[in-house]
Every structure is written in C-alpha cells, then in structure tokens.
C-alpha cells in the first residue's frame, strides 16, 4: 500500500486522501442522519400500528363476542331445564330469529341421549334464503361426534371458536363456529352431554379486513390458530394456505418464524425486512393476537412506501452529495494542479539541468509562496552552479592541455627508453657473443699456443734426438750383424778351441747379440716416438675423402677388440652398437680419424680390463658405441664403464705425454694427437665426460663438410 502511494503523484495523493476523507465524513453523517430519522419514523409507525391493530382487533371481537355469548347462554338455559327435543328446537328457532348476524345454530347431544334407539341428535336451525329452517342431523355418514366443532369443546372442556371453514351447503361462504359445551348436573357433578354452537359468516370480516389499507400496498390479514389464512386481500390464499406454506412457497423462511410467534399469541413489529407476498416490496409485519378467537391479526407495512419521503429526501441528499463530490473533485484537481504545475515545470527544468543543460530557463513564478521560493532558490543555485562550472571549465581546459603535454611527453619518453633499452640489449647480446667468441678464441689460443710451443719443442728435441738415435739404431743393427758373423766364425773354430772357451765365447756372443737386440729394439721404439712427435708437430693434413663413418667406426671397433683379445685372451667386453643409418658419407681423413677411434677404443678396453682385474666376475665390461646424425654434423660417442677418469685429470688428458698407464704401456701422445686430428684437422669438437670408478665417455662432433 505504501509503495503504491509512494509511486503516485502528489495530485493523485491529494485527490485521493481529500476525497476519501470527505466521503467517509459524508457517509458517516448521512448514515447517522438516516438512522436517527428512521428511528423516529419507526417509533411513530409502531405507535400507529399498535393503535391500528388494537382498533382492528377490538372491532372484530366486538362483532364476534356477542355471537359467542349466544350458544353459551342457550347452553346455560338448557342446562337449567329438563331438555326435550321440542324445547331444544324451540329455543333454536327463537335464538336464530332474534340474532340476524347468526347463520345457524345447533344443539348436538352425546350418543343415545334420547334413548338406545337414537344414537344421533343434532338439531340444526339455519337460514335458508329468507326462511329459517330446522333439521335434525346425525347419521353414520354425518358422525358429528368426531367433528372439531363438537369434539374439541368436549375434549378441552371449554368454549371455543372453530377453525373457519367453507360451508358447502350455505353458498360456499366462509364461516366459523362457536361451540359451548353443554353439561348436565348430576349430583352436583357436571357431565358433558353435548354442544351448543352458533355459525357465523365471516364474509363481513373479509370485507372489513380487506378495507384496511396501509399506504398503497399495505394490508391486514388474519390467521387462525393453525396459521391458516382467514382473511387476506388475495382470496385464493384464504383457507387454502397457512403462513407456513406461504413461507415455503415464497421461500421466506423468516415468515415461518413470524407465523410461529403469531400462533403462539405474541405481538410485535418484526424488524427484519421481508418481501411482501402480495406486492413483492420490502415490508414490515406487525402482529397481535385476537384473544377470544385464538386468531392473530397481521398488518403488512410497505416499508418502502412508509419511508418514501425520507428515502426521497436521502436520495436528494445523495444526489447533492454526488454533485458536491464532483464539484469538490474539480476544485481539488484545479488546486492541486495549480500547486503542482510550477512544480512539474520546475521538475522538468531540473531534469534537464540534471542531464547537463545548465542554461535551462527556469519557469517564471512570481508568487511568493513556497513554490515561488523554491523556484528562486533553484535559480540562485543554478547561477551559482553556472559560475562554478565556468571556473571548473577553465581549470579543466588548463588541466587538459597540461595533461595532453604530459601524455605526449610520457609517450615519447617511453619510445625513447624502449629504443635505448633495445639498443642496449642488442649491444649486450653482441658483447656477450663477442665475449664468448673471445673466450673461445682465448681458449683456442691457449691450446694452440700450448700445442705450438710443445710442438715446437718436441720437433726440436726430436730433430736433435733423431740423429744420435739413427746412430744407435744403425750401429746396433750392425753390431747384431757383426755378432752373427762372429758366431759363424767361432763355429768354424769350434774344433780348434777348447770347448770351455767355445762355450764362454758363445755365451758372451749371445749376450752381445741380446744387448744389441735390445738396443735396437728400444732404439726403434724411441725412433717411433720421435717420428710421432715429428708427425704431431708437423700439423700435416691428409686428403679428405667421403667416408662412411659407421663402417669406419665398426672396422676399428673390431680391430681394437681383437687386438686386445690377441694380447690378453682373458679379455672380454660387451660392445653395444647404435649406429645412426641416416648418416651419409662425410668428408674426413679416414686414416687420421681411424687413429682417433682406435686410440679411444683401446683406452676404453684397457680401462675395462683393468677394472675387471680388480672386481673380477661381478663386473661386466660394456662398451657403448653410438653415432647420431645432427644434420650438419655427426656426433660419435664412445663410452666405457671402466675405471673412469679422476676429475683432477680431466683437463689434462689432452696434454701430450700425459698418461696414467704404467711406464712403457703408453706414450701419452694418443689423445693429444687425437685432439689435433679432430679439432684442428676436422674443425670438430672433442669432449670428455667421466665419473671416476663408473664411466668415461668421449664425444666427437665432426662437421659433415
């Protein structure tokens, strides 16, 4: 609800609340006024109705009561005398004659009152046209003992008006019978002997009650003790309907309640409105008992008619109220619009203002009320804001320019820095490269210098040693030849000299031969060393020819293996080969390269053999040979699981004369020469990796061209 109103316009709220308030006040006043007026009218009505019912009942009873007295009086007269049939009929005729309002009278007696032969005695005097007639009734088909007019006073032991009935014999007119019991006094005790009755036409009652009109449609009716309609403007209802059957037929349950009150002898004005059966209008019903007959009078008051004046007045009031409401609505709408119009304009202006149109023109409101003040306040705020905005715009422009400059500077700075950084990093890379190259060159230079100096040294030494060595070798050979000749000569002289001498000379000769042989042998060895040294230093390069590296390697692996086997039959090694078949023939100097392979494989075999000797059967020597095509290069790896190379020796193994083999077993030139062959001659790389006691691996990388 709150939300609903929150969303509504001020105009709506004003109209709604003013209207609701006015409506409630109006309704309250109207209702109060109506109720009070209604109360006054109803009070008057009650008084009038009470008067009307009293008057009506009095009049009806004034008509009926004298009739009721007749049977009663006749009964008393008969009781006081000895009843004879003649007496009875005589009295009946007199009574009927003297009482023109009576239609007929009976004296009816109990069975066999006049003897065993006469069960029935019912003397009936009645008017028939202009004549009075008397008949004696009673037969099996007219068993009057059991008829209400006889039986009820008998059983109730009192006078009673019967339920009205249509008399078929008397022209079908409605009648009622008053019955008075007749007694016989036997020893001071009353004994019922019959009934005296008077029939009276109720046609006058019908006319009388029909004559009662209350406004246009109001009417009176009478019901009997059993609710039977005795008098009603609608003659069809008379004696055919009870108030209770009407209640069912017209579906008016409330009517049954009214009827019950009426037959119980109550009186009242029923407040609850119900539809008048005759007119269909809303009606009230007033009722009062008719004590002597046990009937009840009802008066139907057409409320609408009775209240017509007041209703008309209130209808007018409602019309005025409605007209006033419309007027009020127009006034409220106009006022609220006059209040809210500048507000709406101002709101629209403020909306535009809020959207950035700071120069929007404000409505011109000259009134000095709150709206006018609000407007001028807003105008002031607008001008102040505009000033501030101008300052802000200037400052903002300055700022913008500064900002642009800064941005430009910042942008160029970045480019500069990045350029410089790029240059620097390029330089740096170049420098690093140069440094690496330098380091490489330096290393090369060191090695070359070392090698060159060593080479030069060895060449010099070799040259100097070569000559004396030639002498040693040549003369030792000559000595051997001479010793051989001497031996032959001594053989010739064997018979000439003593045997001991001969043997002694032979011994000396053999020693000479042996010595000379040794000299020759070692001389030759020295010669070969010198030759190698010379070869080393000379830097001589062979002719490169296309060579299948895998085949070459395999040839020398086999050679080395069988060589080792020839020297030591216990030697064995498992060779694992992994040749890369994609390697085409490459340009190498095969005789030099084969030296390198042989060198390395020999070293490996030797190393594993040594380890085998140390560890025995537990150890399984393995030699792994592999080649790999690296595109422009070929990599050859030769790995053994022998003793390995101690870390401290790793940088020395390529030095000439460095060897760990026992004296006489190696020259210490093998790897040095191999290094020259790979690095210098073939422009390749030659690296070693090892872990002492576990493995040693040589890696050779040779460019294909």
């Amino acid at each position: 609800m709150k939300n609903i109103f929150r969303k509504r316009s001020l105009t709506f709220k004003m109209i709604f609340f003013i209207f609701v308030s006015v409506y409630l006040i109006f309704t309250g006043i109207f209702y109060y006024n109506y109720k009070v007026s209604e109360g006054i009218i109803k009070k008057d009505l009650k008084e009038n109705v009470d008067y009307l019912t009293d008057a009506t009942i009095n009049k009806v009873e004034a008509m009926l009561n004298p009739i009721a007295e007749l049977p009663f009086n006749l009964a008393r007269i008969l009781e006081s005398e000895n009843m004879t049939k003649k007496q009875i009929t005589g009295y009946l005729e007199i009574f009927l004659k003297n009482n023109p309002e009576v239609y007929g009278m009976t004296v009816s007696l109990e069975p066999y009152f006049f003897g065993q032969n006469e069960k029935y005695f019912c003397a009936y005097a009645y008017r028939s046209g202009n004549r009075d007639t008397l008949v004696i009734l009673g037969s099996e088909s007219y068993d009057y003992f059991y008829l209400d007019w006889y039986q009820i006073p008998k059983e109730l032991d009192r006078n009673i008006w019967s339920e009205p009935f249509f008399d078929e014999g008397g022209g079908n007119i409605m009648m009622a019978t008053f019955s008075a019991p007749l007694y016989e006094n036997i020893n001071g005790k009353k004994k019922f002997i019959g009934v005296v009755t008077a029939d009276v036409s109720l046609e006058w009652l019908k006319d009388f009650i029909s004559g009662i009109k209350i406004f246009k449609t109001g009417y009176a009716f009478i019901i009997s003790r059993s609710g039977k309609m005795i008098s009603h403007p609608n003659s069809d209802l008379i004696l055919n309907e009870t108030l209770f059957t009407i209640s069912i037929e017209k579906n008016l349950p409330h009517l049954r309640e009214i009827g019950r009150k009426m037959i119980n002898g109550e009186s009242g004005l029923d407040d609850v409105e119900y539809k008048n059966v005759a007119s269909g209008e809303n009606s009230w019903i007033a009722y009062a008992p008719m004590k002597n007959t046990g009937w009840s009078l009802g008066i139907v008051i057409p409320v609408d008619e009775f209240m017509a004046d007041i209703n008309q007045l209130f209808r007018k009031v409602i019309h005025f109220a409605l007209g006033g409401s419309v007027l009020l609505l127009i006034v409220v709408v106009l006022i609220s619009r006059s209040i809210t119009k500048p507000l709406r304009i101002l709101t629209a202006a403020v909306d535009k203002f809020a959207k950035g149109n700071f120069n929007v023109s404000l409505p011109e409101i000259y009134s000095k009320d709150e709206i006018g003040k609000l407007c001028s306040s807003f105008g002031f705020m607008q001008s102040e804001l505009n000033k501030t905005i101008e300052v802000l715009v200037d400052t903002s422009e300055e700022l913008r320019i500064s900002n642009e400059k800064l941005e430009e500077y910042s942008r160029t700075l970045e480019i500069k820095v990045s350029d410089r950084t790029k240059e620097l990093s390029e330089k740096n890379i170049e420098l690093e490269k140069t440094l690496l190259q330098l380091k490489d060159t330096q290393k090369q230079l060191i090695i070359q210098e070392k090698m060159a100096s060593l080479g030069g040294l060895t060449a010099g030494i070799a040259h100097e040693i070569k000559n004396p060595l030639n002498f040693v070798n040549n003369f030792s050979e000559l000595t051997l030849d001479l010793a051989k000749e001497l031996g032959e000569e001594i053989e010739k002289l064997k018979n000439k000299i003593e045997e001991t001498d001969y043997n002694y000379i032979n011994d000396i000769l053999s020693d000479v031969k042996q010595n000379a042989g040794k000299i020759n042998e070692h001389g030759k060895r020295a010669d070969s060393i010198v030759k190698g040294m010379l070869l080393h230093s000379r830097g001589k390069t062979g002719e490169k020819i296309p060579t299948d590296i895998n085949s070459l390697l395999e040839e020398y692996v086999n050679l080395a293996y069988h060589g080792m086997r020839a020297m030591d039959s216990t030697f064995n090694v498992k060779i694992e080969r992994a040749y890369d078949d994609t390697i085409e023939k490459i340009e190498v100097v095969p005789q030099d390269l084969s030296r390198v392979f042989l060198n390395i494989i020999n070293n490996g075999c030797y190393s594993t053999n040594e380890k085998k000797k140390q560890l025995g059967e537990e150890y399984n020597p393995v030699l792994k040979i592999s080649t790999t095509n690296l595109g422009g290069k070929v990599e050859i790896r030769i790995r053994d699981n022998g003793k390995g190379i101690p870390a401290e020796n790793l940088d020395k193994i390529f030095n000439p004369f460095f060897t760990t083999k026992p004296t006489g077993k190696g020259t210490g030139l093998g790897l040095s020469i191999s290094y020259d062959i790979i690095v210098d001659e073939h422009k390749g790389e030659f690296k070693v990796d090892s872990k002492e006691g576990e493995y040693a691996e040589f890696v050779i990388v040779i460019p294909k061209k």
């Binding site: 009820i152 059983e155 003790r225 069912i248």
Partner: protein, 353 residues
C-alpha cells in the same frame, strides 16, 4: 374356480406384464410433448376392444392418487384400450363401500380394507401393491414429554376409526400402554390444541399439515408403525377375482398404465401438481401447493424409492400374513385367503424412466 383355470390366467397375466413392461417410455417434464407421452406400438393393442372400467381411489382427490390422475390426463388408459372412469373417494364415498356395492371395478384400498371385504365374501384380489410400507404414524409433541411409546401411558391418543385403529391397538398392547383412544376424522386441531397427547397421521399428509401449522419437525416425536414390526402395507389395487379372470388383460393394462402414470408424475411433478390441483378444485377441496408437493415426493420415495425399486408393485408375503394375524387377533376377520390366492403380480418394474 378351478386351480387350473387360475394358473392359466396367472401365467397369461405374467406374460402380458412382461410383454408390455418393455414397451412404455415416459418422457421427462421439460419435454413439452403432452399427448404422445407413451410411445407404444399401436399394432400391439389395436385389436383390443375398448373396455370400460370404473376406478375408485380410497380417499378424496389429492397427490396421493397423482399416478392415476396423471395416467388419465395423459391418456395412458385410453392407449391401453381402457375407457376409465375415476370416481372421487373420501369420507362420504368410501371405496370399500363402493366396492362392496359393486359400483366400481377396481379400487385402491388398504390391505386391511380388502381383507375385511373378503371376510364379507367380496372376492377381491390384489393385482398390485402401491404402498409396500405403512405410512401410518403417531405424532406427539416433545413439549408434552413424549419421547417413547411408554410415555403415552394414561393419556389421550387421537386415532382414526375403522381399520386405522388396528395398528395403534396392536402397538399399545404390545407395549402394554394404557391409553384413552379418541376417535377422530383426520383433523389435527385437537392435537394442536393439546386435546390429545398424540395423534394419528399419515407420513405424506397430516404430518406435513402439522408442520405447516407452525410446529417444527424437531419439536415432534414420531412413531412409525413399521419400526415396531407393524408394517401394514397400505394402498394396493384391488379388483374382483371373477372380473379379473374374465378379462385379465384389461386389468393388467390398468396397472401398467397406472405405474406409468406414477413414473410420469415423478418426472413431471409441476405438471402433475397442476392436474392434482384441478382435481381438487373440481371436488371443492382446498389445494395447497407445498402440501401436495410434499405428498407427491413422499409417494415417490415409497413407490419407487426415487425410481430405483425393482420391487415396485409387489406385496410382501410376510407383511401380508402379519396383517392377517393382527386382524384375526382383533377379530376384524376370521379367515383370510392364502397369499397365492390373494395377490397376483401384474407389474414388473423394468422401464427406466
């Protein structure tokens, strides 16, 4: 009459009953085709000669006999070849008297009426039981302190004369209640004025009159005789055995048309009540719509159980002998025919309305 002749005519009756029970068709009220309400094949009855029958209902015109009036007004009897005359019954023209004088051919009688007539050598047979249940009852006011039969001890009770007194007598004997019987002629005024503590009433008639005189149902104590093992089947259709044997077909048609009239009247209550109203007006009787409507509704409950009773028209053998026993006890009759010689079933309910 020989047993053989009786058996043959009985079988004939059964056959005809079945034959025609499947033919009729009753139309409902909202269909405004009034004259051809029964779609019966004319071929089936064209050869049957028109037979004059005089019928007397056992009371004056009211909705109690709506079935006969409706059948008559709709021409059901005519269609079955019966030229029917309906007499007005009532206190001054009792059906039993009329039958005794042979002034009618067929009558609606209570079983007790019929048994008494048979006792008087009027050879009547029951050819259809209309009310299988006793609608007779006693009504007392709760305000008079009556809630059970014993509460009526030492008080006056309104009863109706003639056969109507058999059931109350039997009842009070059975409960050993001492009451003063006040014979009445159907008026409830003495009861309303507290002249009797209880009064005799018919469920479909006086009970409702009392209600329509301002007493509420919850203010009344009611005693239905069938609740006290005194179910006296009431209205049945009776005719003379001899006439029946001579022309059983006409009587079967009469019963057939009558039940069709009842079916029609329950389907067309408003039209039926208009017929009843006319009959009552012509007999100079006050017509009361709510009362006659009530009566018609009660008959619907009792005859067809709202159209669902396959036993419609059947007299219960046990009830028959119960009535015989009670009547003998009260010396109303000394002898009674055997059930099989008393009741001939001519109506079989198999036509769904």
């Amino acid at each position: 009459m020989s047993d053989r002749l009786y058996s043959i005519s009985f079988l004939l009756v059964i056959f005809i009953s079945f034959f025609f029970a499947s033919c009729g068709k009753i139309q409902k009220e909202n269909i405004s085709d009034s004259d051809s309400l029964v779609k019966l094949n004319p071929e089936l009855y064209k050869d049957i000669p028109s037979k004059k029958l005089v019928f007397i209902p056992h009371w004056s015109p009211q909705a109690q006999f709506a079935g006969y009036y409706a059948a008559y007004e709709n021409g059901f009897y005519r269609k079955y070849g019966i030229d029917l005359v309906i007499l007005n019954g009532g206190p001054n023209n009792k059906a039993s008297d009329v039958m005794e004088k042979n002034n009618a051919d067929v009558a609606s009688l209570w079983l007790t009426n019929a048994l008494q007539l048979i006792e008087k050598k009027i050879d009547l047979i029951n050819i259809a039981q209309i009310l299988p249940k006793s609608a007779l009852m006693l009504i007392a006011k709760k305000s008079s302190g009556v809630s059970k039969i014993e509460d009526l001890n030492n008080s006056k009770v309104g009863v109706w004369g003639g056969d109507y007194i058999i059931q109350p007598m039997a009842l009070f004997k059975k409960y050993n209640v001492n009451v003063t019987l006040v014979p009445q002629l159907g008026s409830i005024n003495l009861f309303l004025l507290n002249g009797v503590k209880a009064t005799t009433a018919m469920w479909y008639n006086e009970y409702n009159t009392i209600i329509n005189s301002g007493l509420n149902p919850d203010e009344l104590t009611t005693f239905f005789y069938y609740d006290y093992d005194l179910n006296f089947p009431e209205e049945g259709i009776y005719c003379f055995r001899e006439k029946f044997l001579a022309d059983s077909v006409s009587y079967v048609y009469f019963v057939k048309a009558t039940f069709e009239g009842w079916q029609w009247s329950f389907l067309n209550p408003e039209k039926t009540l208009l017929i009843v109203k006319e009959k009552m007006k012509s007999a100079n009787l006050p017509y009361n719509y709510p009362h006659q409507k009530w009566m018609l509704e009660k008959f619907n409950e009792m005859i067809f159980h709202h159209g669902k009773n396959e036993n419609a028209g059947l007299l219960d053998e046990k009830d028959y002998y119960k009535v015989v026993e009670e009547m003998k006890k009260e010396n109303y009759i000394k002898t009674a025919p055997e059930f099989k010689n008393f009741f001939v079933r001519t109506y079989y309910y198999n036509t769904q309305p």
